[in-house]
């Protein structure tokens, strides 16, 4: 279990986390949603130990993060940052191999190559293995970086908007594979998504962030309400449920006011 307690993080006047606490269970997919600029990516970087919070503690299965154990701490993570550009003279296979950086030596063994190719094969990308990454599309780069993150054999997998460049097919391939692996290997998977319907379909646990506060947390079916969406995004939606009880967020052509959703006063924090 990844446990965050009383986390406070601010850049100057901009408060990104205000006494925030939550727990993320192993074997589950956790999805963060929330408006732009609300500190979702900064939260991931904080968990990774790249940004120092003003206050609070982070621990994973008994180990508390501190500045001294940062190398060891990061070894448990597969972390896929938001940026998906790959402008380097390497093949897809070589980029995926870098996921196992500590195991690489001057002579590359067959077993590591097989492992990397297997990771690519599982997400339907093995045919690109020997291609130069500079020839790939944005979506293909994103899948390659996902394979690289899997190659890390993480205990905690953090993905920052992993489907932002993916077509419908690869969105499903990635999230489905992630879900299976998370459950099979007992990972803590944490990702940021903007598509509320994908979030509703794949999240075991949904975290709704706004203005430095965790305004709602729980199973999508339990917490997604038109009022919550209205409070968080300032947008009117209807919420329907499909046969399996998964909520579906139906949007309408925008008739609200730009800027209204920055009003945080009515939001009640859950802790």
């Amino acid at each position: 279990m990844l446990e965050v307690s009383n986390l406070s993080l601010a850049f100057g006047d901009l408060v990104l986390a205000d006494d925030m606490s939550f727990r993320l269970n192993t074997g589950q997919t956790h999805v963060i949603i929330g408006p732009n600029g609300t500190g979702k990516s900064s939260l991931l970087k904080t968990l990774f130990g790249d940004i120092r919070p003003q206050k609070g503690s982070i621990q994973f299965s008994g180990e508390v993060f501190n500045v001294k154990n940062v190398t060891q701490w990061r070894r448990q993570f597969g972390y896929m940052p938001q940026d998906i550009r790959l402008d380097v003279g390497l093949s897809v296979l070589e980029v995926v191999l870098l996921g196992q950086l500590n195991a690489l030596s001057l002579k590359l063994g067959d077993s590591l190559l097989e492992e990397a190719l297997f990771a690519l094969e599982q997400i339907g990308l093995v045919s690109l293995a020997n291609q130069d990454v500079r020839t790939l599309s944005g979506g293909q780069c994103q899948m390659v970086l996902f394979a690289q993150a899997l190659m890390r054999k993480p205990k905690i997998l953090m993905l920052d908007e992993p489907v932002s460049a993916l077509d419908l097919h690869f969105q499903q391939v990635m999230l489905n594979h992630l879900d299976q692996q998370t459950k099979a290997n007992g990972w803590v998977s944490l990702m940021i998504l903007h598509d509320l319907n994908l979030a509703a379909q794949y999240a075991d646990n949904l975290l709704v962030l706004k203005g430095g506060r965790l305004v709602a947390q729980g199973a999508p079916a339990d917490i997604l309400t038109p009022q919550l969406i209205k409070d968080v995004y300032g947008v009117n939606v209807d919420i329907e449920f499909d046969g399996g009880g998964v909520p579906f967020v139906r949007t309408h052509r925008f008739s609200g006011q730009a800027g209204i959703h920055s009003n945080t006063s009515q939001i009640k924090a859950v802790s």
């Binding site: 003279g89 093949s91 870098l98 130069d132």
Partner: protein, 351 residues
């Protein structure tokens, strides 16, 4: 079963890819040996390539009869210079390759970051001060080395700050380049015409100062530095994916950056202090290497060395043969070859 087949095919393709890179490295090594032999053969008294080869073979123990004169010319006069060309060219190539990797910019090199200018200033200052009681042969390289390391330390200081970007480091390096160039001009301005002439000659860069002692020093420093860099080759490859991603793969970016900067500074300072300023090899060699083998540092790094060595070695041949009987300063020759290539590189990038 089908999957195993695809995976085996991909592994084979990767191995073929690696083999092709070895072939490229072998090819460059071959032309390097040719230019090395030509470098020894050319000079005031032209030797035949066969003679040179025999003399070299007899040196390494092959029982071949070589005339006494040839042996003296080859071993005592030309071999140190030709070896110096290889080692210095190679270390400049590797220095450029790692600066470009570190700063994520194909135009970076120890030269563009002011390290060479700082060395030039150090040498000029020593000439101006009359060597501070040491003899000039010793004082000038020491001055060059010390100033080069001082300028690099300013970069180290910046590199150690948290959250400094590579772009900011490049800007700082270029600022240092201007600073040391101005200081150098200042020294020249206050010097007597004769001294100014001496300074200018040092700045041109010349391999003729090579002797067995400084060849040995440069060689030992270069071998150690390159070996240390090679050990980090995968981390350096990861760095080219971007600093944030390198961090996400477990690389301690700040530490790797500092370590690599220090190694490159030591290599550059050593090479520059013995041969003066030699421009462009640091930029040109890694860019050719990148085009030939990509950016897997296990191949990119050694090939940058070989191409740098080849460029300086062939520049050395040219410097002796452009005007028969006269020796052109090698720094001038490399810049004249380097500039057209630089332009071609820029035009090629835009496509």
């Amino acid at each position: 079963m089908a999957t195993t087949h695809i995976i085996n095919e991909a592994i084979k393709a990767q191995r073929d890819h690696e083999k092709r890179r070895w072939v490229v490295i072998g090819g460059v090594l071959f032309v390097l040996v040719l230019s090395f032999i030509l470098d020894i053969a050319t000079g005031p008294s032209m030797l035949r390539v066969g003679e040179v080869t025999n003399a070299l073979l007899s040196r390494i123990g092959v029982p071949i009869e070589v005339s006494r004169t040839t042996d003296v010319i080859v071993t005592n006069l030309r071999l140190p210079i030709a070896l110096m060309a290889l080692i210095v060219g190679g270390s400049l190539g590797v220095g450029g390759a790692e600066m470009q990797t570190l700063l994520n910019n194909p135009m970076a090199s120890p030269y563009t970051l002011g390290m060479a200018a700082a060395a030039g200033f150090g040498a000029a200052l020593m000439l101006y001060l009359g060597g501070l009681g040491l003899n000039a042969q010793l004082a000038v390289p020491i001055g060059a080395f010390v100033c080069c390391m001082i300028s690099a330390s300013l970069l180290f200081g910046l590199a150690m700050l948290r959250h400094i970007t590579s772009g900011q480091l490049i800007l700082a390096g270029i600022a240092l380049l201007f600073l040391f160039q101005s200081l150098l001009s200042l020294v020249q301005f206050v010097s007597s015409p004769e001294l100014s002439q001496q300074i200018l000659f040092w700045l041109f860069g010349s391999l003729t100062k090579a002797n067995w002692t400084n060849v040995a020093i440069t060689c030992v420093v270069t071998v150690i530095c390159v070996a240390v860099l090679l050990r980090d080759s995968w981390k350096l490859t990861a760095l080219r994916l971007g600093e944030e991603r390198a961090k996400s793969l477990g690389v301690n970016v700040a530490r790797l950056r500092l370590k690599t900067l220090i190694i490159v500074a030591i290599m550059t300072a050593t090479a520059t202090s013995f041969v003066g300023i030699i421009g462009f090899i640091g930029i040109v060699a890694p860019n050719i290497a990148r085009m030939l083998v990509g950016e897997d540092q296990r191949f990119f790094l050694p090939l940058s060395f070989l191409i740098g060595a080849f460029l300086l070695s062939s520049a050395s041949v040219l410097s002796k043969t452009i005007v028969p009987g006269a020796l052109f300063p090698i720094g001038i020759v490399t810049a004249i070859i380097g500039v057209p290539f630089f332009f071609w590189l820029i035009i090629n990038k835009r496509r």
